[in-house]
Symmetry: D2
Subunit: 344 residues, 4 copies
């Protein structure tokens, strides 16, 4: 961390900052420029966050030099982390596609979707039992009944299950049924939930918040990791910008950036990132080319009848077509799609 003093900062003010830092066990490094004095701080960065140095007289600004996260950083763990979901390796050579409906709506709908995405090569079934809906008048999910249907679909198809946990109270219930616990974009900074998820021995799919920086996203991963759970899979799902033709702006550059800054696997959710099914297959291809370790894609047996996010859901036919195209792109970047479908 670096403290930049104001141009007219007095010697006393500079000494006060230095004195406080040294008293707290930091080494300081003073640099007097033509216009400003700069104080470099050497020591444990995680202890600096709580010092309100900017509130001290004569201080102009405090600039962090290092990232605020440790366990999530590439420096801490130079090799790529691979998160095992049963026998599936997320973050290895194979790319895993997680697909299924936005919400579990009925036994028939879910089982049909599960069979269809399995047939096309998905390895993990997605589907929400608890749904975060912006309107209190919208369908809010089947809750425990939905979780049971997900377990039944897993039983029948062999797919693993990823489903969202929205709440500390229902976490034990969701953890009982899910193979991967999904933290939704709106809960990325629900720190109580992050702390609880950290205590569960299950992989966590951590979606990036709608207006969260990459650094904040990695800090949310740090919450989970510092609590004891290192099985974090990051998921880019679009950020909010002024562009409104698409639901969000899919930030694919986040994929190589996160892989540079961190060792955690990254998957991409083009369905939420775009909000219009028409563009999902193309951007799924681009995500694979950008280095994604997996995809999260909404597929519904009949999107026009979906109770949630129909406009961004692929039909099973479009999904199967997309999967075929993905294989070539994966090969072109020296990866391959998981899933037991013959490559035609």
């Amino acid at each position: 961390m670096i403290v930049v003093m104001q141009q007219n900062a007095t010697g006393e003010q500079i000494e006060a900052v230095v004195g406080r830092l040294e008293k707290s066990g930091f080494q300081v490094h003073l640099s007097r420029g033509v216009e400003r004095t700069i104080i470099g701080i050497i020591g444990d960065r995680t202890r600096l966050g709580d010092m309100a140095l900017e509130a001290m007289p004569g201080v102009e600004k405090v600039m962090p030099v290092l990232q605020p996260y440790k366990l999530a950083s590439r420096a801490f763990h130079p090799e790529d982390s691979v998160v095992m979901v049963g026998d599936l390796a997320i973050g290895g050579e194979e790319i895993h596609v997680m697909a299924g409906p936005c919400a579990v709506e009925s036994r028939e709908q879910l089982l049909e979707a599960a069979r269809q995405v399995k047939a096309a090569g998905a390895t993990i079934l997605r589907g929400g039992a608890f749904k975060p809906r912006t309107s209190p008048y919208s369908f809010q999910g089947l809750e425990e009944e939905g979780l049971k249907l997900l377990a039944e679909a897993r039983e029948l198809t062999g797919l693993k299950v990823v489903t969202e946990v929205m709440d500390v109270r229902t976490l034990p219930l969701v953890a009982e049924y899910a193979d991967i616990l999904q933290i939704g974009a709106r809960n990325m900074q629900n720190f109580f939930l992050l702390r609880e998820v950290a205590r569960v021995d299950k992989p966590v799919l951590l979606k990036r918040g709608l207006s969260c920086t990459i650094e904040e996203w990695l800090m949310a991963a740090e919450y989970i990791m510092s609590g004891g759970n290192h099985k974090v899979i990051l998921c880019e799902r679009g950020i909010r910008t002024f562009e409104n033709y698409t639901r969000n702006t899919l930030d694919l550059t986040a994929v190589p950036v996160v892989k540079y800054l961190s060792h955690l696997p990254v998957v991409v959710d083009p369905s939420h990132g775009i909000g219009k099914w028409r563009f999902v297959p193309t951007m799924a291809r681009a995500a694979v080319a950008a280095g994604a370790d997996g995809l999260l894609v909404e597929v519904h047996p009949n999107p026009a009848e979906a109770l949630c996010d129909g406009p961004q859901s692929l039909t099973p036919e479009n999904f199967a077509h997309m999967m075929k195209e993905l294989r070539g792109v994966a090969r072109a970047v020296n990866r391959q799609l998981a899933g037991g479908v013959a490559d035609v």
Copy 2:
């Protein structure tokens, strides 16, 4: 709601949309233009949200005509709502200033802050016992001990207490001590928490999410209101933009806009909106001129020693000075500051 069909939509596709709507009990109104056919929908708008019309063949887009919220809308309740906090009226002629430290740190710190803000004219004490911190290594709050100190400060000063509730499990505890339950920006769309808060008979201060539109903010209020709690106070606290000199961009225009669209009172938090104490008093004045019903301001006996948000906290002296200046601006817009301080 209006459905815009694609230019080359077939008669069959149009009939399919019309048929589905009529079957669901809506009236439709067909308008065939030169380039497009448009279908107007008449009926209960809250039931339309779950129909994935955009996923039907031939549909180009669906455009909402009405706001998605009802109870929070000005049309539903044409007069301004006044939310009573004990004997204090929020949303009436008087402007209430809620002030205090970001976090409750110690008995001494809190009681000193409480006495100071009371002396300067605040009517409500703010202070966090549970703190949402972006770093897991930062101070996370005194929890129940902090709530007890807030109650003690209330006892001693007569100030009401507003404090954040972060979690459904600790809600009963917080509700026991607080006069106003604060929902933080990061929890604005924590729908489980909103639903629980809706069941408590306490005023709720609902902060706007960092990247939430005004419409989403009012939908979050609708969640609380539709669950039975109409005592919602909205709080503008800055949105996230590309500008990075300030911590956020304080969207003061949201004040008159919300007052036009809704009947709920609105307060402004310039401390979080800006992040630098130096600009807080000026923007507090602007907030009052913009029609705010109150302010939420961070004040710390010694900002440089604050465990949280020191750089945006006012010293008690600066706060007292700000309060004096505010009185004139309040009068100029035909309001007055609450609080028993003689107006010099």
Copy 3:
């Protein structure tokens, strides 16, 4: 400027950076921390911009410590600058209101508008003769004919004239008629235009670009000032964010921030910042409370017939009412409105 080396930077890489800087005449200050080596640079900051230090091996990032502008900075000119427009002082104790139609449409329209805004207390007439329209099919302005009408209105009312210059070729023409040259938001970084305007001896109203930071805005002012024209008036007019109920997000905090960083006067354009006339008077009040030195407000004799920006234009009656209200707010912040209207 500070260079942060990568964690695994070699001694050779560090020496290469140091060597290059010293060869270019800078002093360096090396600080070796536990995890990183940091190189502080001392010397003329304006010469650093062109050194691509981030492209050197082993460099992680380069962090600027000082603002990149000089002439526009408060440090360069500690007192507030006052820009004279004839005998009107912009940036002094008096607040000036610049009002009139978006576009000059006809002699009748302009003269009527001029008389009306003058009667209500405006001191400067606004009106576009050249119009930057997002559609090529929209009205593009009366051009020289419009400039002549502005001059006629000035003759008749005594109001000064502010009008936009869009192009280096028409700059001499506009400069012949205008008292203040307006640089529109979309031209804030039209550097050729800035350089030409720098050579004209006329005050320049420099609007903030739709997605420009405060620092970039001050750098645009620096362009004009470094070219020889120090008569720059800054104009906040809203920035682009995800919020879409309003046309833009009016960033009123920019007013005190700019006054802290710079010595230049700042005015506010709530009409473009909001895009809906209904909220303009309230936000004009807030702008004055925030410390604005003036306002730019669209007023049209008949907004519904306006060829440009009717929805954000005030009627003359609403404008007159707004002006009355502004006087009280101005007094409350120890300023006063210019303009010879009796304060009722």
Copy 4:
């Protein structure tokens, strides 16, 4: 276009809107819902832009139904447009890579860069002779001397030349030397420049503005096309968001979206979109997978000595490596890279 009346709009107000529209030659279609009356407008949409219907009493809002552009729309020209640059076809099956330094700095630098990018398979040389720099103290380009060097490089290598035109005055000069005229992001809404470029018989590379929506970008293309020049190539180069690790947020979804809405070719500039060379090759691959018709990539013989944008420039080695990788991705999406390099 649809006019939504306020809930309490009177019959007179509705008639006034209808009457005005009919008088202007539009047909209207009235739809009275439970809560609102809606007026559909049928007729020439390009004539509607100038009617300030939102300013009429009783009108709540006006909602456009159709895109405001015509010539640029897919409906106007259902097949993909191919823009010929000499004998190179942009928008056909082959993907063209435009590469070279940010700025032309010297004869040696440019010719070396030209030879290197040609050897790696680029077909078009990029390089700025006039540079839009945010600081007046930065290198501003070699101007005509730079144009001559570009012509020399073309002569020697056979590469076509794309270079930026910043100003109407220097347009004839630039047009004399360039094969493609580049309109920079900051000039995307410089309407005078667009109108002039429309009169030149040269292909135009139109960069998307930093904070411009896709619709505004296509409207800027419409300016050029409606002025007579249909040879427009669109270039996505990143938009401005809150994320600040990267220079901008590269919006790759814009590629398939633009191809759906328009018939114009689209290329991608990952160098400016990201600002850090390290991530450019990966995102170039993603751009090709997203369907881009070409790439614009900064390559410098020695990035650390570059006078402009060194940190985002590839070395010739990295560029050659990227080109090899791109071939496989192109094949995977049934395209191929132009350029005469043997595919190893």
